[in-house]
Symmetry: C2
Subunit: 427 residues, 2 copies
């Protein structure tokens, strides 16, 4: 089935600002709350949020097989469960409804009023109920930087790294959408040079610049998904800030991996950009040497050219660009990650989220965490207001933005923005 | 509110076989499917499954504040969310309904027929929708054994171990109830003495003898649960077999912990035994030295005397007892685990599951895994049929049983039993 929604020549009768991440070629999916306290599944064009539940009730999806309440829900899980064919049909239909040449909704002000909201009048929610959250560690540059800092500079990558996409399980309960502030965590840490740990506020709260993909039901327990099929089970992507407390992490992570250093919060952008929308931005990933095992081998372009930026907004409200990187630098593709994840028969469900791991590029200004950008705090970054940062300070807001661009269109993720608050005081 | 359900003198008008794990003093909670394909929340007395949905509809819970469909659900999450007071009221009421001296239901054969099922006529389901699954590593003996085998015999425990209950996140999607078979996983491993990994069937599939506790909503994001409050948020316990592929684990686990070596399956016993039912079996845990940080300090008896056994059933259907251990050996208590887990503000929800980690006792016949029982495969165990086991073989069934016993009563978990099948072949 052709992805007619991607036609770069199409224009919408809804106004789309220049450089918007959300032209009619994007059509991402999300969940929002209206001022009338209604939660609904929606999409976005320009600066308008569109209520898909209302569209369905008004018969705009007639002819597509959907359960009656498919979009009048507080998560996208059921829609995602319906599979790739349905996603494509719905996205194509939305493009048609909002096409500049289609008068049906355009010329019906009464219906427009109940379907279309100003983006500032809705509150974005978590788009899916995330059953399981897995975080990979798939940037070779990031793994190398961390290995150099904490282990052996001459053997920075551990022996398994080039053979499999290393990953660990994260915590679903603390994944929050953009806009929700996060408290600086308390925890145990071992001060430098000391032999006894202390308990207190983390002194090195960091961001990790990541993307994540959302899956559909992929398999039954026991069944592996072949790499050449894996893409069919990926619904779309979001930006992910995998908040990390480096001092807690260093003390706790042996031998079972990061735990409290990570599970206090993970922030995501609220609009899931579909793989269909990202299709024009396929590109080749890095050469893989040694050749991966057959179960990890794929053909064709499996990387995507997604430009990523991280900003720190300081108390004077000025944004400081601290890094620019690209999703295409990742060594292991999402296809390989999903094939690996299921190679042992691990079940993957609709609404599971899989993070890329910190995405660092080849140059120091393209690293994806403060840990790397300041090289463990040795080279603090100077902000426009003259203050310096080794890590994130209380009341700083960390903002990630991501978008794809070619000569014809720009498809973006919007942003994930979250403020770091001082430690929580219990009332 | 007194836990009247625990009265050791109480007898039920339902027959309870001698040595049953489910006298009227237990009253665990679970979810079952009847032959009529109805899923309901239930309890168990003797060898009878009791439909709590039917009891509620017939007004047996009148006077207790419950939503109308509290028990006509396919999980216990909503009931657990209602909190400790409700759990206790309902359990006390059930004890009263089935008390030998109470004729109301006893003498109503029509109602008995729709409320009470033979345990063999129902199919036990997962009792809760498990949002997040955390596995601790809280047996000092187990951590020491593993450290001796894989690291340094003279410094077996890592520096953090005595200061915090080490843990990692597991995978919820592959947690299954007793009775569901499990496939031997495929994966990467590094054969001994080789430099290059291979991909194939795991050759060292192991059980881990654990218990797990199920939580209720404990906090909002950012908020820590003080150790002295933590018990209020623990609903009850199950037996847990945290299946592990040792060869996959050894190759993949650095630096982010176990992943595919664990997430192919975790099996649990289907009846959640409440903390109220376990109350008579409180005991002191091991002395903790060094003294834990204040946020991990508790008063009183926080361990429980729960006897645990693991069996391997071979192809001739004979059960071989391979270990006997006890929950009370655990160094870190559940209270400390939950206080630690939330010390950084990590949100804990109704239906989250937290595993104890492998429970090993002080003597070699009380170790909680084949890895330890055979000391890395060096000392295979001999089965009654003359075959030997280094790890679990295809078609073996692993069975855990657990119970508490004093002079008056026995409160048990029943069992978690699951067969290991050969690797899955995709149709």
């Amino acid at each position: 089935m052709p992805i007619t929604a991607n036609d770069p020549k199409r224009k919408s009768w809804l106004e789309v600002p220049e450089k918007s991440d959300f032209p009619i070629q994007n059509i991402p999916f999300g969940v929002f709350l209206t001022k009338e306290n209604v939660v609904t599944v929606g999409t976005r064009i320009g600066d308008f949020a569109i209520d898909l539940g209302a569209l369905q009730q008004l018969h705009y999806f007639d002819g597509i097989e959907l359960t009656d309440d498919m979009f009048m829900q507080d998560t996208l899980n059921d829609f995602i469960s319906d599979g790739k064919k349905t996603w494509r049909l719905v996205r194509n239909r939305i493009a048609d409804i909002f096409d500049a040449t289609n008068p049906v909704l355009r010329d019906n002000p009464k219906q427009r009023e109940i379907i279309i909201f100003n983006i500032e009048d809705v509150e974005m929610q978590l788009p899916v109920l995330i059953g399981d959250y897995t975080d990979f560690y798939s940037s070779k540059e990031h793994a190398t930087n961390v290995g150099k800092m904490f282990r052996d500079p001459d053997n920075a990558l551990l022996p398994n790294w080039l053979h499999l996409p290393v990953a660990y399980h994260g915590r679903s309960s603390t994944i929050v959408p953009s806009g929700i502030p996060v408290h600086r965590p308390l925890g145990q840490m071992l001060p430098k040079g000391e032999k006894e740990p202390v308990f207190g506020s983390s002194r090195s709260v960091d961001f990790e610049l990541e993307t994540a993909f959302i899956t559909t039901d992929a398999n039954i327990m026991g069944e592996a998904i072949p790499a050449h099929e894996a893409e069919d089970y990926i619904f779309g992507m979001v930006l992910l800030n995998d908040w990390s407390a480096r001092d807690l992490q260093k003390w706790e992570y042996v031998p079972l991996g990061p735990f409290l250093a990570k599970n206090f919060a993970s922030s995501i952008s609220p609009w899931i950009v579909t793989m269909d929308a990202l299709e024009p931005f396929r590109t080749k990933g890095p050469k893989q040497d040694p050749a991966p095992f057959p179960y990890l081998q794929t053909k064709g372009k499996k990387a995507f050219d997604i430009r990523l930026e991280a900003y720190i907004k300081t108390s004077n409200q000025e944004e400081n660009l601290v890094t620019k990187t690209n999703f295409k630098y990742l060594y292991w593709s999402m296809t390989q990650q999903l094939a690996h994840h299921t190679s042992n028969g691990c079940r993957v469900n609709s609404g599971d989220m899989m993070g890329s791991g910190t995405i660092s590029g080849p140059t120091p200004d393209s690293y994806g965490s403060m840990l790397e950008l300041t090289w463990g705090g040795k080279n603090p970054l100077t902000m426009k207001d003259g203050t310096t940062r080794k890590f994130i300070e209380d009341n700083d807001t960390v903002i990630f933005r991501g978008y794809c661009k070619n000569n014809e269109i720009r498809i973006g993720f919007g942003e994930v923005s979250s403020q770091l608050l001082p430690p929580y005081i219990r009332k």
